[in-house]
């Protein structure tokens, strides 16, 4: 029963993290951390945080869903999910029992650009925790029955997700927006691709990509750095193997023109829709300026979109926009939902708000407000040990460093009204738009035709996205 949908700042950092130290100038500094490269090539980062007796790990393997073989989408994610499901010396049950006994958490999944995992333990159990964590990562055995089990579970999970439009609209939007680009492919697979994956595929993926030279490990929490360094060297020093380099991600080009996909869900009482195009990369030099404009456009409660569609008209419970940042340009998407009968009104209003952004721009006062908001809301995103560990691995993966955090306030402050005008024109699509709607087709298919010369249709019960 939340008053509002939490706005999702996907674009901030693909995640974020850490308990920041304050800087003299009122800015923030990432707390000090040590970065070492083990002899086997593993990059390790260590940051002490003593507030709560907890230690958090985060790792990245430099191959994600983009490395899935065609027709076997979901393989990277499945491989990551299976890491804790049995090793050379522990069954899945043993792993679960030992992990739960110390109140630990551990799991992994794949994003498009990389595979990513975490583990977290209470300080007193760190010896046991590190043993379990390193065993899963280094010695995963992928027992055949566990592979079969998880494949079935994941196929059913897709069916269950399709019963909730909000759980799947991103998948449909990515698939429709990106066409032949790998970002179109479902990162957790679909009904068909999961049926095609075998244990050999999993073994091959693991052997090809899980190697120290292609891995990044961060540990943050209540420990002594020298001691932790020794423990990590002990557990990960003997990790060997050479990684196959993951295929590079091709450049993503915005869709030219307009197209619309309508997914029929005949019981829907609301139309869920996304409108957008290809956005920006994680390393785009304008990314913080884009974030400032997006804050005003659809990134917070009083944004232009939410003001129009919710606060002033009551057409929805929440409207927002976001830029997801990746190696290649990730999606920019406006998302909201409205009753079937007000679909046209809400979509027209959405496009009007976008038009207004381009025609009227923003005011000095709004620019100031957005800057203040982003700065004020930033510290809690780097408050905890798990947030910090995730931030460290991502900065390393994208070739960034602590200046990304330490210069964040200064970069925000540097933005001018001229920058705002340029950024709106350059990064917010206007004439080239991709529309994806999930709703009751018999109610809204006529309305849908109004927005694009090309209208595609499918049913939510059809396999795939």
């Amino acid at each position: 029963m939340k008053r509002r949908l939490a706005l999702l700042f996907v674009f901030l950092f693909a995640a974020t993290s850490a308990t920041p130290a304050r800087a003299e100038d009122g800015g923030l500094k990432l707390p000090p951390f040590k970065k070492v490269k083990l002899q086997n090539g593993l990059t390790v980062m260590l940051m002490e945080q003593h507030e709560v007796p907890i230690i958090s790990f985060n790792f990245i393997i430099k191959a994600g869903a983009v490395a899935d073989p065609p027709g076997k989408e979901g393989l990277a994610s499945l491989t990551a999910g299976l890491l804790r499901k049995g090793t050379r010396s522990r069954s899945a049950d043993q792993m679960a029992s030992e992990l739960d006994f110390v109140g630990g958490t551990m799991d992994a999944a794949a994003d498009y650009d990389y595979s990513n995992g975490f583990a977290e333990f209470v300080k007193k159990d760190i010896g046991k925790g590190l043993d379990l964590f390193s065993d899963a990562l280094l010695n995963a055995a992928f027992p055949p029955e566990e592979v079969t089990k998880m494949l079935k579970q994941r196929a059913d999970a897709i069916k269950a997700a399709k019963d909730q439009p909000r759980a799947v609209i991103n998948n449909y939007f990515n698939a429709y927006l990106y066409g032949n680009h790998p970002y179109a492919r479902p990162d957790n697979g679909d009904e068909r691709s999961l049926a095609a994956i075998t244990r050999d595929d999993v073994l091959k993926f693991y052997q090809s990509y899980y190697a120290p030279g292609a891995a990044i490990l961060a540990v943050v929490g209540d420990f002594n750095t020298a001691e932790m360094e020794r423990m990590l060297a002990d557990k990960f020093g003997a990790w060997s193997g050479k990684a196959t380099a993951a295929a590079s991600v091709p450049e993503a080009v915005p869709f030219a023109g307009k197209k619309l996909l309508l997914i029929d869900k005949p019981d829907a009482t609301q139309t869920f829709y996304q409108i957008g195009n290809v956005g920006i990369t994680r390393t785009n030099p304008d990314r913080i300026y884009v974030q400032v404009i997006n804050t005003l456009f659809g990134g917070r409660f009083t944004s232009m979109l939410n003001s129009a569609l919710r606060i002033q008209s009551g057409l929805t419970y929440g409207a927002r926009s976001s830029f997801t940042q990746r190696l290649a340009a990730g999606p920019f998407a406006i998302s909201t939902f409205t009753p079937n009968a007000t679909t046209e009104k809400a979509m027209d209003m959405t496009l009007d708000v976008l038009k207004r952004l381009h025609e009227k721009g923003i005011t000095e006062e709004e620019l100031k407000s957005a800057k203040s908001y982003l700065k004020g809301q930033f510290p809690p995103t780097i408050e905890t040990s798990d947030q910090l560990a995730a931030l460290l691995t991502q900065l390393e993966f994208y070739g960034l460093d602590e200046s990304d955090v330490n210069n964040y306030y200064a970069k925000i402050d540097s933005m001018t009204m001229n920058d705002a005008t340029r950024v709106i024109k350059q990064y917010f699509p206007m004439d080239n738009l991709v529309f994806v709607l999930i709703g009751k087709a018999s109610d809204i298919q006529e309305v849908a035709k109004k927005y694009a010369p090309k209208v595609d249709a499918k049913s939510i019960n059809q396999p795939g996205f």
């Binding site: 007796p53 209470v122 019981d267 002033q312 009551g314 939902f337 908001y373 249709a457």
Partner: protein, 454 residues
Amino acid sequence: MKPFVKAITACLVMLVFAAFAAEARAQAFDVKTQTLKNGLKILVQEDHSIPNATMYIFYRIGSRNERPGTTGLSHFFEHMMFNGAKKYGPGEFDRVMEAAGGSNNAYTNNDVTVYQDWFPSATLDLIFDLEADRIQNLSFDPKIIESERGVVANERRLSVDNSTFGTLYEQLSATAYTAHPYQWPVVGWMVDIQNWKMEDLKRHFEMGYSPSNATMVVCGDVSADNVFKLAEKYIAPIVSHTPPPPVTTQEPEQQGERRLVVKKFAQLPLLLIGYHVPQTASNEYYALQVLKTILFAGQSSRMYQRLVDKDQLAIAVDSNLEFAFDPTLFLVIAQPKAGVATTAVERAIYDELDKAKTQMVTDQEIAKAKNILLANFYREMKTISGRANTLGSYEVFFGDYRKLFDAAQEYNKVTQDDVRRVAGKYFGDMNRTVATLVPETGAEGQGAGAGEKK
């Protein structure tokens, strides 16, 4: 902080942060308290690790204080609290707070309405000014009420109509309770949402929004002295009035299993089972939490092992037990696999519950549960928000925030026999309500999943 998709679709909104073990006592945070003359109690926990602070205000009013015909009023009122007062007019609360670097939200449940502000600590004075204005001088503009009615109707469509869990959970509550107000949805029935009157809102405000009916928690980069000083300045002048009348209705003992079915367009069925259990402040709370942890927490839990791993009947199984003033439901949620009958899932769940009733859990399981509860406690304490919510919840639901620091001891006292006893007492067929969502693959409407029907 709260991902868009997870907010409602992920079935389990866990309000239950209880946890711990021996170390938790040593880990007690230094909390300073003060009660204003008008009755508002304030808790402050200083933490200077980030230059931010958070303010949570708990009002002891929720859907249990409503009546048939105006269900959902507490939640609607929560929305109206953001729509303008005397000093800060319509839209100003959010505009001013965001321009100062702050953000806010709120939640309503059966028992309480909670307002949350997250802000740079330098803006504490402004936050007090904003809160005091709306507590004291909320305005009731008919036009804004109509617009907000639409927002809430859309929230209901989202979280109930277009969610298999939301639909089923609403029906489960409506069936499990026959007398007690926990029977109606927090968001309200659609027809009630459409029919609230201005007088209803005003009456609700007067009933629930007295300082004496609230607890304020401030955590983060503040000094307690300054918080108390500002509270004296902004909140103390607000006059208290009569708090809501006590809710006297008690749910009569259930005398036999209740079953219900919801037919809905869906690909997979869904199963919810509710058992009546005592309120949070009951002395059986801790034993129930230990039992819940043994049965449901982690992949080594009994239910996961049985339903997901061994018998492979479900893709997920979980439970929920929310803080509650009155006797509440212990909820079991299972997502059956495709092609598996919900009755088979039910049988496996009952079988595991029967084992807990007839055989002692092991020492190892008790120890594991305590470790998990302790680790969860630390996780909740990682953020200033988590601390504010947990301190406030303990103060409100246990009657004293210090119970939080006793929880470790309380859990340590729980024995195998206690666990078997509460299992036997509450997990019987006479005491359960079973809700099943039966998929319909779309007789009406076009293009409904050709070839995909099962």
